[in-house]
Amino acid sequence: MDSALIPKGVKRCPIGQFALFIAVAGAVLLWGVVAMFLCYIKGLNQTNMNNAYGFALWIWADLAVIALGGGAFFTGLLRYIIGKDELKNIINYAVLIGFVCYSSALLILAIDVGQPLRAWFIFWHANVHSMLTEVAFCLTCYFGVLAIEYVPLILENRQIDKVPFFHNLGHNMHGIMAVFAATGAFLSFFHQGSLGGVSGVLFGRPFGYRTGIGIWPWTFFLYTWSAAACGPCFTIFITRITEMATRKKLVKDNVVDLLAKIAGWMLLTYIIAKIIDTWYWAAVTAPAMGFTLMDFYSNNPGSAYGLWILIAEVGICGVLPAIMLVSSGMRRNPGLLFIAVTLAVIGACLNRWVMVLQVQAVPVLSFESWFTYFPSWQEIATTILPVAYGVILIALSYRYLPIFPQEPELNPIEGGK
């Protein structure tokens, strides 16, 4: 029925099977939309946020998807600026994943601001002393860059490409993509960094506070670094899941291997910097403010935060995947590669959780105890909403757009049309 829209030389499942898949993902999406409208109509009392937790599940999800969407800017930088030509075979998918991640982040923020009709205030009446203003500027602009990078993929649809204007437009956009990629890298550096800066400048919260260079705390640089390391891991992770779902090989091993190797070295250098940062904070910064390391990880009844979370983030989901990815033997084993990128992705999410939620769990007054928080179903549903949206957009893009240039070669079809 829709065969005229499917790219040349590839095979797709029957339309009925595809429609059923979209319907299942659509049902989850609908659940999230109901929760979203409840938040819009009734307000933020639908959440379990309170005076202790002004940032909660939504902001964690935002920071996590922004870090994981970093694969788009870093792969674009490697492909268009540094000239790693092999990555042309995965850059389309990195852009699509980045587009999904950033549009999801904006969607969540649109719910979180509480008064979406006044969301434009952050641009018009900008507070230039706020890290979050820089984030809002860069996030919105970078989403524009990702949209510009995604449009040529849409224009490559078999039917759209037949229209000469759209064919020329797509061709021209590809021609100057390096300019957009460079702009994307510039914007990403600042918004990833500023998100890290938010917790790093909290002088009144010694768990998050860090020293740094000038006005930039070390977390500014660590966030950008971790996004450049874990973003490509997420691209590989989603690529492998797509290959499992479609039961096809979509990207050649040498392409994945190159991206995994670069991500591995980025992750290794990041985690060394993170360990040094953590040690300096534990040995110098926090004691100077009257705290010991164990003050943050013990005597916190009702809270799940113990040393385990530090070991999980830095050791199991940091050092371990870094070693696995830089070791060519382990990296070239498909099973171990999948474990390594999964751990790296979990590590980035854990880091954002710690720097957003654990920071707020620690009491700031001597007579207070640790604050606990569990999200409401509305918060959970609206956080799962972007996942369902992402699944649907990826499914539609995979079906109708030539996302994987190596797919026809890797999966020849008899008498392929």
Partner: protein, 56 residues
């Protein structure tokens, strides 16, 4: 956002923040405008007849 807004001050913070914003918006705007105008020009010249190939 603009120098004519009542809260605008000509200090370093405003110039860096908004300079960065307008720099990025200008590149995106000019880039896309160039692509659209060139595509219209190329189409008028008869380029872009149906020949499918990937750009990657």
């Amino acid at each position: 956002m603009f120098p004519f807004s009542f809260e605008w001050i000509w200090d370093m913070s405003h110039m860096v923040f908004h300079g960065g914003l307008w720099y990025a918006l200008s590149i995106m705007g000019l880039g896309v405008t160039y692509c659209i105008i060139k595509a219209a020009y190329d189409t008028a010249k008869g380029k872009g007849g149906h020949h499918e190939h990937g750009h990657h």
